[in-house]
């Protein structure tokens, strides 16, 4: 899509592009011997920010050593600072040992600081970074280095129930905003030394932690490598949500279809990891992405695997059916009622015609209006606070629905069609796929309105062509349908019994295929023989 790229960059050209970037790089200058200078310097760099706490004090009573701790209020755990730093340093110091001759720095480090996570900081940049991410800095007078003490403890939303991907059977927990908690949640599910975790900072200003997780030995190393290169390619001022990353690393930008799957459920991520996918976690968002992604993964929900196989299969087929309904229902209605009336049974035709008696608009405009109205309603009810949302939907149903029909502006049949479309678009488990369908519905309606079924057929062919051309991290998007792979059909249209899904998806990884070794359960023979 070079063409579009060019135009877009032309239009939205950043005026300061090419100039040295606006953020002030912190100089990598070393710490000074003199404590006072250090304090001044730090205060200066942070512009006396009011949430910076500086407390200077003396260690020991006879030979006093001047020291100071810095921490960012709210990010560091002030209670712990009380107990483990101030108390132990100010009160419980065995006086004799502190003599100017010997190396008090390592003395403190080795014998007195009763905290686990201690690192040395020798220059301002790293020191400030860790200070701002919640660590405590302890500086001694007369030493050109200081301790960064890990005492991060900020207010943080506890692990709560999943809001968007609810299940009836299965774990309820969902990811939170803090990266650590999320990794912990995943580790809780996979206790395997091969579950590896790599973290890097992305974003010049935000310095957001982005980590990728995969199971060594299952994952295809090529894909891990690819993920690394794509992440390293990113140069952006800030990452606030996984969406930023997604847009920057996906294979194809100009496609309505999502090529990266994301979820807020740890169990889904665990399953993906065991299929040999790579998980990308971003600090500050409860959404975790997995690559590579195929189309089928948008049609699977966690619950398919917790229910029994037949139920799972049935529900899944329902979904595939619904995606067609929500994509084609309005266009089919338009096409058939305006071009191919001979395809309706006589009685149905008569009753439809009766409903349309006196409807002023052509069917296509009618459909367009109703779909539009519905989209508006949905958007409104999503953005509204819950309480108002309900009233909005009531207004919608009453006004748009009943009133419009009674007024004879739209036919009842059209209303039914729109309603069915809406409901079946809600059936799709992945919200962003539902969005795709919503988008594609309108061009299909255009085609239907001008070329009838012929147009619809052409449209469908075009969509399928496009989907077949997509790839996600080198894996064909439509696999295992195309290229067809019999072994992988066990988890696409159907959800085979657990004992039958004994290999991992072929196209995602080639090695370490074996998954289930247990054989189908045997029926216990008749116990009361003889």
């Amino acid at each position: 899509m070079g063409f579009l790229n060019r135009t877009i960059t032309k239009i939205f050209k950043n005026p300061t592009l090419g100039h040295p970037n606006p953020t002030r790089e912190l100089p990598k200058e070393p710490l000074k011997e003199n404590l006072q200078d250090n304090i001044e310097h730090i205060k200066k760099t942070l512009g006396n920010s009011t949430d910076l706490v500086v407390r200077d004090f003396f260690i020991g009573s006879k030979h006093k050593i001047k020291a100071a701790i810095f921490y960012t209020d709210g990010l560091a755990d002030s209670k712990a600072i009380q107990d483990f730093i101030l108390e132990s340093l100010v009160l419980e110091i065995p006086d004799l040992s502190l003599v100017p001759e010997n190396d008090n720095y390592s003395l403190l480090k080795n014998h007195m600081l009763t905290v686990g996570d201690i690192k040395d900081a020798t220059e301002f940049h790293s020191l400030l970074t860790s200070l701002l991410s919640g660590d405590v800095i302890l500086l001694l007078d007369g030493y050109a280095k200081g301790f960064t003490i890990g005492m991060r403890g900020w207010k943080d939303r506890g692990v709560s129930e999943s809001a968007t991907e609810t299940v009836i059977r299965g774990p309820k927990e969902a990811f939170t905003e803090s990266l650590r908690t999320n990794t912990a949640l995943i580790r809780r599910k996979i206790k395997d030394p091969n579950l590896w975790l790599e973290t890097q900072q992305i974003g010049r200003i935000t310095q957001t932690d982005v980590s990728i997780m995969y199971i060594k030995g299952i994952v295809d190393d090529g894909i891990v490598q690819e993920v690394h290169t794509r992440l390293d390619r990113i140069d952006i001022d800030g990452i606030l949500e996984s969406g930023y990353i997604e847009e920057l690393i996906e294979d194809e930008t100009y496609t309505p279809f999502p090529t990266i799957h994301h979820t807020e459920r740890p169990d889904v991520i665990a399953a993906a990891l065991m299929e040999g996918k790579v998980a990308i976690l971003v600090d500050g968002t409860p959404i975790v992405m997995t690559v590579p992604t195929t189309f089928v993964s948008f049609m699977q929900t966690a619950e398919d695997y917790y229910q029994r196989a037949d139920v799972g299969t049935l529900v899944r087929m329902l979904r595939y059916f619904c995606i067609f309904i929500s994509l084609l229902a309005p266009s089919l209605y338009v096409a058939i009622t305006t071009f191919h009336q001979e395809m309706l049974p006589t009685t149905l035709l008569i009753s439809l015609a009766a409903q349309r008696e006196g409807v002023p608009l052509p069917a296509f405009i009618e459909a367009l209006l109703m779909e539009l109205a519905f989209e508006i309603l949905r958007e409104a009810s999503v953005r509204m606070p819950q309480t108002i949302a309900q009233s909005v939907s009531i207004v919608g149903t009453l006004v748009i629905g009943t009133a419009a029909v009674d007024a004879g502006i739209v036919s009842a049949a059209m209303l039914i069609v729109v309603a069915v479309t809406a409901i079946s678009s809600f059936v799709l488990p992945a919200f962003d796929l539902a969005l795709t369908v919503r988008m594609l519905r309108f061009p299909m309606m255009f085609l239907a309105a001008s070329f009838g079924l012929f147009g619809i057929i052409i449209g469908v062919i075009a969509i399928v062509l496009h989907m077949c051309s997509l790839r996600s991290f080198g894996v064909p998007y439509m696999s295992p349908f195309a290229p067809f792979n019999l072994a992988d059909q066990k988890d696409t249209f159907f959800r085979m019994p657990r004992w039958a899904m004994f290999t991992r998806p072929k196209l995602i990884n080639q090695k370490n295929m074996v998954r289930v070794k247990s054989t189908p359960p045997e029926k216990p023979g008749d116990l009361t023989e003889e």
Partner: protein
């Protein structure tokens, strides 16, 4: 190489099948039944045998000209001048077939789906997806075929089963009342249009991933496609009888119209139309692709996608004027076009094979002499 995509054997098979069904399922029943009357199904079988032989020949072809498309092979066999001329004629053949098929598309759509719609918009819409597919390359086309094939087959079976109640065996009786000749005459068209058009795959075979499995793939695809054609023709005779089959322009479409199961499963001709659009799309795309690729190979171009749009324009504006009316097109189609297809589908490859074998023998002799 211009085309980077790779085609799996399964995809090859599927494409061959879809191409074989192609437009034959639409236009073959009347023209075959016209000569062979109620014995048209025999003509189909004859055609299938010849077709399988031809297909087998194609697979020999790729053995003798490894890694070469038809155009390149012609160049290699006949040298610069003669080669260029022959290549141009072959390309023209591809183009003409494409135009013909598109004419059929528009004729069908206007006759049965959108009466009263002018031709150009329909063809424009159609050629746009063809161009899209060509630009995406042969691999994507293969995948698309994989997606649609199950649907096509299932639909076909459902419809065939649904029409069974209206079949009447006496309609294909008596067998061979006027001897074999009419049957042979009928089998000419079906052989040409159904079983010789896979010659276009000589442009594609080099891009198949497992070269050794090509023969199997080709034969299987041809067999599947042939079976579907055979079923269609037999069913339309069993349901409509030879008379209506000849008189109707699209008999199989009328059959779909007659389907009525329990008063609710009826008026399903849209499904049929869907299948045909798909198979026609595959056929047109393959020939279009062959033309574009061949042209750029002949002229040693580095990039073939840029040629798609202007060629599309040519096709869209050529399709309406290739024949002033349906009758003219049909006459040519029945009487002369067949031999055109045979020339390039049967004769040309045979000649090429001959040349290759001759060369091989010659080189052997030389070796043996010294």
């Amino acid at each position: 190489m211009l085309e980077k995509g790779k085609l799996s054997t399964r995809q090859l098979t599927i494409l061959v099948m879809l191409l074989t069904i192609g437009d034959s399922i639409l236009v073959i029943p009347p023209s075959t039944t016209h000569y062979a009357r109620q014995n048209a199904w025999i003509s189909t079988l004859i055609g299938m045998v010849i077709g399988l032989l031809a297909i087998y020949m194609y697979s020999r072809f790729i053995k003798l000209y490894p890694k070469l498309t038809l155009i390149e092979a012609i160049q290699k066999a006949f040298g610069k001048w003669l080669g260029t001329v022959l290549s141009l004629m072959t390309l023209m053949f591809f183009l003409i077939v494409t135009v013909g098929s598109m004419r059929e598309v528009s004729d069908f759509v206007i006759a049965e789906m959108l009466p009263g719609t002018p031709i150009p918009p329909i063809l424009t819409l159609f050629i746009l997806i063809v161009i899209m597919a060509t630009r995406l390359g042969i691999e994507v086309l293969g995948r698309t075929g994989e997606i649609f094939t199950p649907m096509i087959i299932i639909l076909f079976l459902i419809l065939t089963v649904a029409i069974v109640p209206q079949m009447d065996i006496v309609r294909i009786l008596p067998i061979l009342e006027d001897g074999i000749k009419p049957v042979l005459r009928g089998s000419i068209s079906i052989t040409a249009y159904t079983f010789l058009e896979p010659v276009v795959f000589l442009m594609v075979l080099p891009y198949v991933s497992q070269q050794q499995k090509i023969t199997k793939g080709l034969l299987l695809g041809c067999l599947l496609g042939g079976t579907i054609i055979f079923l269609t023709l037999t069913v339309s005779i069993l349901v409509l009888g030879p008379d209506l089959t000849t008189r109707d322009i699209y008999p199989s479409y009328n059959i779909a119209r007659r389907i009525s199961i329990g008063g609710f499963f009826e008026r399903v001709e849209a499904l049929i139309a869907l299948q045909w659009m798909l198979t026609l799309f595959i056929k047109v795309t393959l020939f279009f692709y062959a033309f574009i690729l061949g042209l750029s190979q002949l002229l040693k171009l580095k990039e073939y996608r840029v040629l798609t749009l202007p060629t599309g324009l040519i096709l869209v504006s050529l399709a309406p004027i290739i024949a002033p009316n349906f009758t003219y097109y049909n006459t040519v189609f029945d009487n002369y076009w067949v031999y055109y297809v045979i020339t390039f589908g049967l004769v040309l490859p045979l000649v090429l094979l001959g040349v290759a074998m001759f060369r091989r023998a010659l080189s052997k002799d030389l070796k043996s002499q010294n």
